[in-house]
């Protein structure tokens, strides 16, 4: 995901933040804002919630700056916070009885997401349908499998890093991924 140099730089920046350097916090935000938002969005499938949770991630990083120790990769620590918030949100969401359909938000997002892929109306429609299928297939995954797939596929993380973020063994991550991709293969077979 990132080079060793970048990792050291992240930890070094965070240590500076610990010492009260707000410029370093800005640099960390600049570097990781996008990946965190994308990760959370793919977990919760709702733009407004994703933005809110991503802000909470960076707020927690800021709040805990005084106790920061570079014992793990900065991104592992950062994504652990993000995964924790997203998984909690999904759990709480499940418990809500009168939940609104997330499809409304997904409909809004599709136009923007496939905007570059549409030279014709027909292609746009086909693209929208395929994208909707992909979203539904990912949404149907159990939350931990979803987290593993998003980190593996879209953030190109190693099994070991995913394991640290989800706080489980590497073999458990491989098993999660295998089951998740199996479900996705079945669900997406007709569009792939």
């Amino acid at each position: 995901m990132t080079s060793a140099f970048a990792l050291e730089q992240d930890a070094e920046l965070m240590l500076r933040v610990r010492d009260g350097d707000s410029v370093s916090f800005g640099l960390l935000l600049e570097r990781h804002r996008g990946p965190v938002i994308h990760f959370v969005y793919r977990m919760v499938l709702n733009r407004a919630v994703a933005e809110e949770l991503a802000q909470e991630v960076f707020l927690r990083v800021y709040r805990s700056r005084a106790s920061y120790e570079p014992t793990a990769k900065f991104t592992t620590w950062l994504f652990r916070i993000a995964a924790h918030l997203a998984l909690n949100w999904i759990r709480d969401r499940k418990n809500e009885k009168n939940q609104e359909r997330l499809d409304d938000d997904s409909q809004q997002g599709i136009g923007l997401q496939v905007a570059d892929l549409r030279p014709t109306v027909e292609q746009t429609l086909v693209g929208n349908v395929r994208l909707q299928e992909v979203r539904r297939a990912i949404e149907a995954l159990p939350s931990k499998q979803r987290a593993a797939v998003v980190m593996h596929k879209y953030h190109e993380m190693e099994y070991s890093q995913i394991a640290k973020i989800l706080q489980c063994s590497e073999s458990a991550v491989k098993s999660l991924l295998f089951r998740a991709y199996e479900s996705l293969r079945l669900r997406l077979a007709h569009i792939a």
Partner: protein, 159 residues
Amino acid sequence: MRCPMKTNEEPELLLDYCAERLSPEAAALLENHLESCRDCRAFSRAQQSTWDALDLWEPMPVPVDFDRKLYAQIDKYEESGWWTRFWHRSIWPTGGFGPIIPFAAAGVATIAVAAILYFAPLVPSTPQVKIESSDLEQIEMTLDDIEMFKQLAPASAKS
């Protein structure tokens, strides 16, 4: 090369191959195997199609005022009292997953209950009333006296 599907040894090799994360040597070995193994070839093809389908999902754009909103929250946090800051740091430490204070409170409560059970008797003692035979006689005598006074009272009132 042993078949990763049949032997279930390193089945993630096929996932890694589709994700293009194998070393060139490992990829070449697997490709040799794929030529002769129908199951692995079918799996690999299906996984590759799924992998490509997932590429359709582009990330959401970063909200333009993300930083402004975040710094507003940080300012609000900085302006809050020491208790709020302490609470935030204690309740949701970013190093671990769980809130500390609820678990600590539960631990203290458990110790308190254990201490109470240890130091106090399990069944609360009820005061036992022992009625001696002499007490019964005394009560009977008292009741007789009351009865006698009742009988005498109307007579004394008339006189």
